[in-house]
Amino acid sequence: MIDLQHVSKRYGGGRKATPVLALDDLCLSVPAGTLYGLLGPNGAGKTTALRILCTLLAPDAGTVRLGGMDALADPRAARRLLGYVAQEVAIDKILTGRELLRLQGDLYHLRPADRQGRIGELIDLLSMHDWIDRRCGTYSGGMRRRLDLAAGLLHRPRLLVLDEPTVGLDLESRAAIWTVLRQLRDQGTTVLLSSHYLEEVDALADRLAILEGGRVIAEGTPAELKAALGGDRVTLRVREFSDAQEAGRVRELVLACDGVRQVVVNRAQGYSLNLVVDNEAVVERLRGQLAQAQLPVFALAQSRPSLDDVYLQATGRTLMDAELAVAGQRDAKAERKQAMR
């Protein structure tokens, strides 16, 4: 359904700014009927990729095909095919939700009779009865997102593209949106969503791509990606809060244990130890070793590898660290400008 090949996009490069390479030879292929996740820290190029996909932005290089069509050559056909739910919800505060949907319907040239019926269906689907006739300016974040989702679905697109659809939402709204996205996928719609929530992509997506620095660094189903890493993750705490010295001692001991591949001291979590081990049997061996060394065990938790571990493996840092690293560099004003036409 979606096929991006060797897409590059560079921003800026004017007199003042040094150019930023937002997408670096990005290739992405999304099969029809999948719920596809685009995972990556802020600044990885997710939004740029989606904006190019939705014909809002022209790439510097590369090809964009949607449903077999060349989206760069025939953007109008591409626009008819897709529904887009942007990251910054753009609604008109003065209009009511129903009026906004009606406007949207006219922009997609729905026939008036069909439009009314369709608006009713979506109000049902997203439980918007109570507030759809109030002005959008009074809506909460969750209501806006639901309205925006409804607007994106109004013309029954075969492809729905959502840019971080649940950022900052309450649990109820988030669950509601997840339900609808799954339902859409089950009915044959291709859904592409970006997110920097690992759990969201893990729970929702059939397949995912991890973006970093404008390129895809890992791609597959969540299970495949995790299985490829191998090993189990173990978190070990001998005390609730250890100190560096104790952690160092335990680390030496644990490293000596057969089947332990890697040990990282996690300072941020009270000097707990993060281990990668071959299998469950190693955990029992660990317990034995610790008891022998007369060390207490406050917590010993074992888990399968998560997507965060996938990210860690591919980039050498956790997703949260990556977020923090770019948080200071991002220029909200400049980004707003980029989004402006």
Binding site: L56, A90, I94, L95, L103, D124, L125, Q187
Partner: protein, 287 residues
Amino acid sequence: MTSASPSLVAPSPAGSAGPAFAEIRQETLALTRRLFVQLARRPSTLVAGVLQPLIWLVLFGALFANAPAGLLPDGMSYGRFLGAGVIVFTAFSGALNAGLPVMFDREFGFLNRLLVAPLRSRSSIVLASVLYITSLSLIQSLAILVTAALLGYGWPGGAGLLLTLVTLLLLTFAVTALSLGLAFALPGHIELIAVIFVANLPLLFASTALAPISFMPPWLGWLAALNPLTFAIEPIRAAYAGPFRLTDVVLNAPYGSLSAAACLGILAVLALGLFLAIRPLLDRKLS
């Protein structure tokens, strides 16, 4: 949240390419309706837009009520003289503000919503603004015409009214094009408002809205005689003065005399020129 909707992705007539004209009409009307709904719910723009020229008319009319005889040609009263100026200035200010809603749509990302939609023609976005501003300026002008009549400043006859409307339409088109061009060329609403602010009053004072050219020092007379507002004011003023013909001279400029028809011609060329001038900009920003 209901659990299922049978027709969530059922095939839809949407996307079937309808006749181009019907689609352009549908999208343009929808966008225009939005602007009018906004106006109806936030009428302060309209109220201020009608009140302001009325205050001009009353206060300025009173200020110069005792102007020395001979200031105005043909012993015209100042109020009658001023009416045409205020009508044109009002239409001009309204049209100059036409770019603001578009600028806010750019800034709030609403324009992106329009650009993701498969609009048959993106000119619909511009067309909706033109329709909206034109209607608005006609409403304002009618309010002034009526008030001026009530103040005893006269009423143009049937042909005069027609001439007034045509003149206002031409001026509104020209200035709306300019303002929409600015709305896409400037980086934000602060800059746009600054330009509007700087352009507004100087253009008023350097026109024949408040005083005839004969009253001005030569340099200002030249400016006024080149000011587009003057080309709109003088035909309307002639219509107010009584029966007229399009070939009558309405403007005695330092460079020669212009008839009403010539003034309208200049406005038409200006409107056309500005629309053609902003086309490449709109194409670039909207493609």
